[in-house]
């Protein structure tokens, strides 16, 4: 078992932890990020709705809430951040549909509140909300249910790929000097007078500051240090991705009063989702979808966009929204030093966590300084990353060029998403070690056949590139091997 020392330990490699690590890498500091899984962004980040810059349309948020202020502050940070990291971000805008006369009052109230908050809590660059009438709605979105009377339009809403963003944040942090330790799970934390000793499955880590960005497990980690001065209230949401052939039928994110929404993804699919509002999870860390939620989400989505059919679902999953501080308000977050343990900082964003991440990361710098950490600028900080080539997006001429340079780009492995061997090898070079790691970097298996065709082929490439046997290849680390035995192995064992 190894023993290392670091000044700041970030626990959790989701978007929160990765954004904090990258922000810290702008300074000269000895910091380490630990992630229990084999890859970053594979917890609740993976399950998020991909909607960015949410905030101006959720004005039910209150300025009193720290969470709301973070979300609003994050709104203008996302676009430049994505540019630096070469992650596509698309402003699609959202349309909150209005069903009846009673709901007509809602856009007015929201627009008024927007004006009131603008410049104060909402940055000046944020575009104002608008009301659009029935005819405009129909011309913008001819496939939305014709019965809606109009919509509240928020032009700021954008989509991107939060897992790719998290991977890029972690890569950039690593490049700028932050240590990133994968497969490293925190087992216990003991408090000394001026340092913590964190025991992991890979040895112990001594550190002066802990940033608890463990997402869904933020409570568990805080408890280890008796720093759990908050109450968790996790709720489940449900999302389903639809076949790309439906991609173009909706242009904006459309949502209704009933917690349902339909939106395009950055990759050209449509997806729909539902949040069950205040319905508490049955069991902690239960990631399973259930039929009731799935049926309700589908019904809701069909109400918004009648052209959606169950037949076109290619995948569905549970998203987590971790609400906390129930007594104060549903949307309040836990970002700050534990009231009970100095230098132990909880950084749990809750909903909508992706949007707030850059603002949380910025705030973390002030919190650390307040806790006594000396932070001087890192003169060598390089903010840029280059995303990997996406063969399917290249022009015919670019396709020719890249194949001429590396013939592996001429070998299409995933037919649904047109992913080449060249991209898969590049993804592995960039750190993918599991089938999911490859899938979330370059999409083989994300299409309509869900890896039925390319699964065996990606397995082979992973085994070859990593120098392991095909049986050792896992879906997502741990016990998730795909192939448990060799042919004839069971027969030989029976003899």
């Amino acid at each position: 078992m190894s023993q290392i020392k670091t000044e700041v330990l970030i626990i959790g490699g989701g978007i929160g932890g990765a954004a904090i690590a990258r922000e810290l890498s702008k300074y000269k500091v000895d910091a380490t990020l630990v992630e229990k899984g084999p890859d970053v962004g594979q917890g609740i980040t993976k399950c998020s709705s991909t909607i960015m810059c949410q905030g101006s349309n959720v004005l039910e948020f209150r300025s009193e809430y720290h969470n709301s202020r973070l979300v609003w502050a994050g709104m203008t940070m996302m676009e430049p951040l994505c540019k630096e990291l070469d992650i596509p971000l698309k402003r699609i805008g959202s349309l909150e549909l209005i069903k009846n006369q009673e709901e007509m009052r809602h856009p007015e109230k929201m627009m008024r509140r927007f004006k009131e908050y603008k410049g104060k809590y909402i940055p000046d660059e944020v575009e104002p909300l608008q009301f659009i009438d029935r005819d405009t709605l129909r011309s913008w979105e001819p496939n939305v249910n014709k019965s809606y009377l109009g919509a509240l339009y928020d032009p700021n809403i954008a989509v991107n790929d939060p897992v790719r963003l998290t991977i890029a944040l972690a890569d950039n942090a690593r490049k700028n000097g932050i240590k990133v330790l994968l497969d490293t799970e925190v087992m216990s934390i003991s408090k000394g007078t001026d340092e913590f000793e964190v025991c992991t499955n890979n040895g112990s880590i001594k550190c002066r500051y802990i940033i608890n960005a463990a997402g869904e497990y933020v409570g568990k980690i805080a408890q280890m240090a008796d720093a759990d001065d908050f109450a968790l209230y996790p709720v489940k949401s449900y999302q389903a991705v639809l076949d790309k052939k439906l991609g173009g039928i909706i242009n904006h994110m459309v949502l209704s009063n009933e917690n349902g929404m339909v939106a395009p993804t950055i990759h050209g699919n449509l997806f729909f989702g539902i949040s069950p509002g205040t319905q508490r999870l049955g069991k902690a860390h239960d990631h399973s979808t259930d039929k009731k939620l799935a049926d309700a989400a589908l019904k809701n989505a069909q109400e918004l966009v009648p052209g959606i059919s169950e037949r076109d679902i290619t995948n569905s999953f549970v998203g987590f929204i971790v609400f906390r501080n129930f007594e104060i308000g549903w949307h309040e977050c836990t970002v700050g030093v534990s009231r009970w343990v100095p230098r132990f900082i909880n950084a749990s964003i809750g909903f909508p966590g992706i949007c707030a991440a850059p603002a949380v990361a910025k705030e973390m710098i002030d919190i650390l300084r307040n806790q006594g950490l000396q932070l001087t600028e890192n003169p060598d900080f390089d903010p840029y990353e280059k995303s990997m080539p996406d063969f399917s997006e290249l022009s015919d001429e670019e396709k020719r060029q890249i194949i001429a340079k590396d013939p592996k780009y001429g070998h299409v492995v995933c037919r649904c998403e047109t992913v080449t061997e060249g991209e898969i090898v590049e993804a592995i070079k960039r750190g993918a070690r599991t089938l999911d790691g490859v899938k979330f970097r370059c999409r083989p298996g994300m299409g309509r056949c869900q890896g039925g065709f390319c699964g065996p082929r990606v397995t082979k490439i992973l085994a070859r590139e990593l120098g392991i046997s095909e049986e050792e290849v896992t879906k997502k680390g741990g016990e998730s091997r795909n192939l448990l035995y060799k042919s004839k192995e069971l027969l030989e064992a029976q003899q």
Binding site: D286, T314, V412, Y485, E489, L490
Partner: protein, 419 residues
């Protein structure tokens, strides 16, 4: 052969593509190419190591690879040019093809005619929308078949199979022979999805339990499948409360339907039949785009490879004729419409001028029926099942009853003697 001079380009080198390409050559087309994304010709036949292939076509009982090899040899003998490890990524409405491979890079060309033979894919877990966690160990029966028969690995040793399609039942037997225990085959319908011969030879002969009118209601396990919950379903296919039962297993195989692979067809603007999921064609197997033909599972899912070969030969022959003569004569103007207990008919339109074979499926199993092709002809059949395709030959003499005014012929399946 220069890309500019290609007469017939066949997309896909499974049984359909090979049969189409061979026949196109035999029918006189000079330059025929077959484009295949895999490393070799034959498609999925390589992983179908069981027998039962060719009973009709060759009057012999062959394995998949044996059946495939006969066509592979013929592809070579007839001078069809295979382009392997070549993926067609683009098809336009004026028959422009864009394809990539490692050797030539990105190539584009416009053949005189095209045969679509891309086959089909399996319905995935996502498409089935099965509730539960997302562990490894959930895979389609065909993927499992490739792992076991081609790659040399077993997904696990305690298996549950959802759906009773042919590949699922065949894999139940295959995995049993490999020493795994198949705990259950679970089918939501009151009857099996595949052929009766597979139910007998793959399930009954190996004492594998079959649960009809049951479904998987939950998948358990965080990293790897640990169990599934199954339940009985009611007439509306909803789980009946109180009938849930947890089965310990390490793998869940899915064999619950096949979907024709028509993404290229959609790109080209080819009109699809919402029931078959394949192109709408006339008796020459021409789609709504002149010079683009389709045959085999890309057109509609077959249960016997023999029919795939025959149908694709027809598509290949038409493609050759189109390439040489630019015209196929009378177009399909008469619509064949599915009536009582008929799910679909292929071709969807006919000209009424040629001998033709109608392929069709029923919605529900039924005994002692009469299949009526409008008032042209009737055929009595002892039993029909959705899983078994019905073939009816329609001779041009019978079609003389059809006149220029006929716009539609209703095909129906009715109980014999009274109702």
């Amino acid at each position: 052969m220069k890309l500019q001079d290609i007469d017939v380009a066949v997309i896909g080198a499974g049984p359909a593509g090979m049969a189409a390409a061979i026949r196109a050559r035999e029918a006189g087309a000079e330059n025929v190419i077959i484009m295949e994304r895999a490393e070799e010709l034959g498609g999925l036949l390589h992983q179908c190591v069981h027998n039962g292939f060719g009973l009709l076509y060759f009057n012999e009982d062959l394995t998949g690879p044996e059946y495939g090899n006969r066509f592979i040899e013929k592809v070579m003998d007839t001078g069809v040019k295979p382009l392997l490890e070549t993926m067609v990524v683009k098809l336009t409405e004026d028959r422009q093809i864009g394809a990539v491979n490692a050797k030539e890079g990105f190539i584009t060309f416009r053949p005189k005619s095209v045969v679509l033979a891309m086959g089909c894919r399996e319905r995935s877990r996502g498409a089935l929308n099965i509730p539960g966690s997302r562990p490894s160990g959930v895979l389609t029966a065909g993927t499992a078949q490739r792992f076991v028969n081609v790659e040399g690995f077993l997904p696990g040793k305690r298996i549950v199979i959802l759906g009773s399609g042919d590949i699922g039942m065949i894999m139940a037997r295959r995995l049993t022979l490999e020493g795994a225990k198949v705990e259950a085959v679970v089918e939501i319908l009151p009857y099996i999805g595949g052929l009766i011969r597979n139910e007998v030879q793959c399930l009954h002969d190996f004492d594998i339990p079959l649960y009809l009118q049951h479904t998987v209601t939950q998948i358990h396990g965080e990293e790897r499948v640990t169990a599934v919950t199954i339940a009985k379903v009611d007439a509306d296919r909803n789980p009946v409360p109180g009938t849930q039962r947890k089965i310990q297993c390490d793998s869940l195989l899915l064999s619950a339907g096949l979907i024709p692979e028509n993404e290229l067809s959609l790109m080209a603007g080819i009109r699809l039949d919402p029931v078959t999921g394949g192109a709408v064609v006339d008796e020459t197997r021409q789609t709504n785009i002149a010079g683009v033909f389709a045959g085999g599972n890309v057109l509609h899912v077959h249960d016997l490879v023999d029919n795939v070969s025959w149908e694709s030969e027809l598509a290949g022959e038409s493609a050759a004729k189109f390439a040489m003569e630019r015209d196929l004569g009378e177009k399909g103007t008469i619509n064949l419409k599915a009536g009582t207990n008929i799910r679909y008919i292929v071709p969807q339109t006919i000209s009424g001028q040629r001998d033709t074979t109608l392929y069709m499926r029923v919605n529900e199993p039924q005994e002692n029926v009469r299949i009526k092709i409008g008032d042209i002809m009737t055929k009595t059949v002892r039993a029909v099942k959705p899983s078994e395709m019905i073939k009816i030959e329609l001779s041009s003499e019978k079609l003389q009853k059809v006149n220029k005014e006929t716009k539609e012929i209703i095909v129906s399946c009715e109980k014999r003697g009274g109702k």
